[in-house]
């Protein structure tokens, strides 16, 4: 049941989806579950809309987790976010204001096929699970498959590589489904956040080139507020900046696409750690990692309610 669900352990895809159904059932005033499409292997791509129902069109924030299958702390954070948002709505004025004035679209597991494969077979699988007719290798890097400078620098055209861009942009049904949803709602979605691991960074566009975005000062200010809020929890430092210079150049990324699609604030979080556990962040660190990241995400969302 919802009250017994343990947010400090990693869950299977089945458990996560059951939990989503349960949240939808028990918190219908704040939660609405829907599907944006199906994965390559036919699994539903579920999203939770979190927010107080309103007659007015509300601005929205999109958060996806688990684009890369092996980054398990991502889905753990998405679940944590939902739990915290709902549980603190009554007593926390900031949360209440955010959920009253914004809608949050939370996709706990973007790459459902990959996550299932990572859970059961290959712990370090990264890509989707789509088949390639010419090669024996499977999968596409879902963060190289978006239609923005697709398959240029920082992506690979070889199907066996972990950064394979795919046969064409949005070839992956997961990417296509989310892109379709965001295009449909582009007027309302004001922030796009994608959760990854590991590097302890907060990244914004561009990934594909060394250049500043037009609204650099607003985005940079939001990023600074976010990492400051994050640091206030446990003193953990996150670097922040354009993805191309802070991490490395990559083309076809979701944050570049979201930004090009008109979403003014597009971020990628790279959560803990920096290389003691890597992808194997212990369950004992889920709580502090998610707590600090929650503060950062709330800071970004709060910024949307102010003019910049």
């Amino acid at each position: 049941s919802e009250s017994q669900y343990d947010y400090e352990v990693y869950h299977s895809l089945e458990e996560i989806q059951s939990w989503m159904f349960e949240m939808n059932r028990t918190h219908s005033d704040l939660v609405n579950m829907f599907s944006v499409g199906k994965s390559y292997e036919g699994r539903a791509l579920y999203v939770l809309q979190i927010g107080k129902r309103s007659r007015h069109q509300k601005k929205a924030v999109w958060i996806d987790c688990g684009v890369h299958a092996r980054e398990w702390i991502g889905p753990a954070f998405c679940q944590w976010f939902v739990k915290e948002a709902i549980n603190s709505y009554q007593y926390d004025s900031v949360t209440r204001r955010l959920l009253n004035q914004l809608n949050f679209y939370i996709m706990p597991v973007f790459n459902v096929d990959g996550y299932q494969f990572s859970w059961t077979t290959d712990r370090f699988w990264r890509k989707t699970r789509s088949k390639n007719h010419k090669f024996h290798c499977r999968g596409v890097d879902a963060n190289r498959n978006w239609k923005v400078k697709w398959c240029e620098e920082g992506a690979s055209s070889h199907p066996c590589d972990d950064t394979y861009c795919g046969p064409f942009p949005e070839s992956e049904p997961e990417v296509k489904a989310v892109a379709k949803f965001l295009r449909k709602h582009k007027k309302r979605v004001k922030a796009y956040i994608s959760i990854h691991a590991y590097a302890q960074m907060l990244l914004y566009p561009y990934s594909y080139k060394y250049a500043s975005i037009p609204n650099f000062s607003c985005v940079e200010s939001a990023a600074q507020s976010a990492v400051t809020a994050l640091y206030s929890a446990y003193g953990v430092r996150y670097r922040y900046g354009p993805a191309s210079t802070t991490l490395y150049v990559s083309s076809g990324s979701s944050i570049d696409w979201a930004y090009r699609n008109g979403i003014p604030y597009a971020f990628a979080f790279e959560l803990r750690d920096t290389g003691y556990f890597g992808f194997l962040l212990p369950e004992s660190l889920i709580s502090p990692t998610c707590t600090e990241t929650m503060r950062a995400v709330k800071a970004i969302a709060s910024g949307l309610l102010k003019k910049c």
Binding site: D6, E8, V9, Y10, H11, S12, E15, T121, D122, R123, F124, R126, D141, G154, S156, D161, D162, T163, Y198, A199, Y248, S250, G275, Y276, F277, G278, F279, L280, L281, P282, E283, S284
Partner: protein, 99 residues
């Protein structure tokens, strides 16, 4: 054991090439083995003073140690037994352990 114990003995190396020739040598060395790059995502992104985290199969760990030492490329092993670390990631409360 999770994953049929397939990761037993596998290691994760943290390698820091300091110069261009070490970078080229490292790319050449890694090309010999079937490795899984944790960071960066691609060997093409390896450059001087970048942190390279790489998962190496059990059978290749000794040879990679030798190779890196011969080329005097700075490295350390940050996960010495990947299977053990995978088992430790999941605590007793998880359904994986209960099964």
């Amino acid at each position: 054991f999770l994953y049929n114990n397939r990761y037993s003995g596998d290691q994760v190396f943290r390698i820091t090439p300091s110069e261009d020739d070490q970078v080229q040598e490292l790319k050449r060395i890694l090309g010999h083995y079937e490795v899984d790059l944790w960071q960066p995502n691609s060997a093409a992104l390896i450059c001087p003073n970048i942190t390279v985290d790489v998962h190496v199969r059990r059978n290749d760990t000794r040879a990679l140690h030798t190779h890196l030492k011969q080329e005097r490329i700075d490295y350390r092993v940050f996960i010495s037994n990947l299977q053990k670390q995978i088992e430790k990631q999941t605590g007793q409360r998880s359904s994986r352990k209960r099964r």
